[in-house]
Amino acid sequence: MHIVDGALSVPVLAIGAVLTAAGVALGLKKMDYDHLPQVGVLSAAFFIASYIHLPIGFSSVHLILNGLIGLALGWAAFPALLIALFLQAVFFGFGGFVVLGVNTLNIALPAVLVYYGCRYGIQSSSPKVAAIWGAIGGAGSIILTTLMVAVSLMLSGEGFALAAKATFIAHIPVMIIEGFVTASAVLLIRKVKPTFLGLDEERVYG
């Protein structure tokens, strides 16, 4: 869901860059040097995971996973995603360079929102409830990202309105799949490494 260079208007680019810079600064501030390896390794893991393509019908979609990134990293999602998108742009020509700010904002802000919105839900003592919150986070972050992409396009020119709406509709299957995938990832992590999601191991498992 990256936007390429050249499509967006200057004010949109500028707003994206400024907000991303602020988000990254906050993320870096909240992350001390001891957590560098953790964020770096997770950023690498998400970079890899975003290359997973799942089939739907004759086509296929690739996962974005920003809901899960948010749940795992909180504000550190901003620097982690900026780096992932930067590497993709300069080495694979995927996404653009000047739009890096907008692209990062569109993916990282929903991640942070999911972190605040679903953090408590996935810690629920009932696995079912946790899975539902995981699904909400997974699907919700894609909905938000798609909306933000649509808004960035529409603000850049009325000619984009139809394309923006089409993007949203085309991503409905992605929302469903991301919901399922995020829910089962959350279920697994809760069982295998509860501390990762802020659960207290002693309390849950004695």
């Binding site: 279920l187 697994l188 069982k191 295998v192 490494k193």
Partner: protein, 220 residues
Amino acid sequence: MSSDESFFKVTGLSYRYPRRGVVLDQVDFELKRGERVALTGPNGAGKTTFLHLLVGLKKPKTGQIWAFGKTRNDEKEFVEVRARAGFLFQDPDDQLFCPTVLEDVAFGPLNLGKSRTEALQIAKDTLTSLGMAGFEERITHQLSGGEKRMITLAAVLAMEPDVLLLDEPSNALDVKARQRLIDTLLSLPQAMVIVSHDADFVDQLSTRELRLENAALMVI
């Protein structure tokens, strides 16, 4: 080209990696019913690569792979091969990705089209037959090395394969777990290919030994 008695028959198999160069050069190989073939060779000789080629996880540059009664070329044809040749990976951690033991063992049968209840029943039975009953609800990630190895073996056996391909199964196992693995493998009827650096392990198990070195397969 074949007989009823052989599971795999490979001729003129070659493979190369972009930067590493040729790792397999015109290799021939056959695996017959009841055989336990040991495959040895230095680090980086290409043993793991060879096993991957057998089940189509990599595509050979040249050569023919004949398996379970048919020549196999494309991905679709290899899906059946993978269902009938159980592959035990070098590192059990690569293979265990479900949260609980039962789900992991049932994963294979589910892929073979079994229903959920059937798959769970098969998984339970397999665990029992390996003496691992009671592990169903354990969390895979927290098992010891030896336990992980036995669970991955159960996961592979649950697919009721005709052949086992074992990549360094005794790595990082302690003495007891290693002996238990040897005993289990000796009691299984399947034909096997066993990759290992552990000379004693190979001696106890194999009926025949091959060595992979300088891209060629030699009889020892």
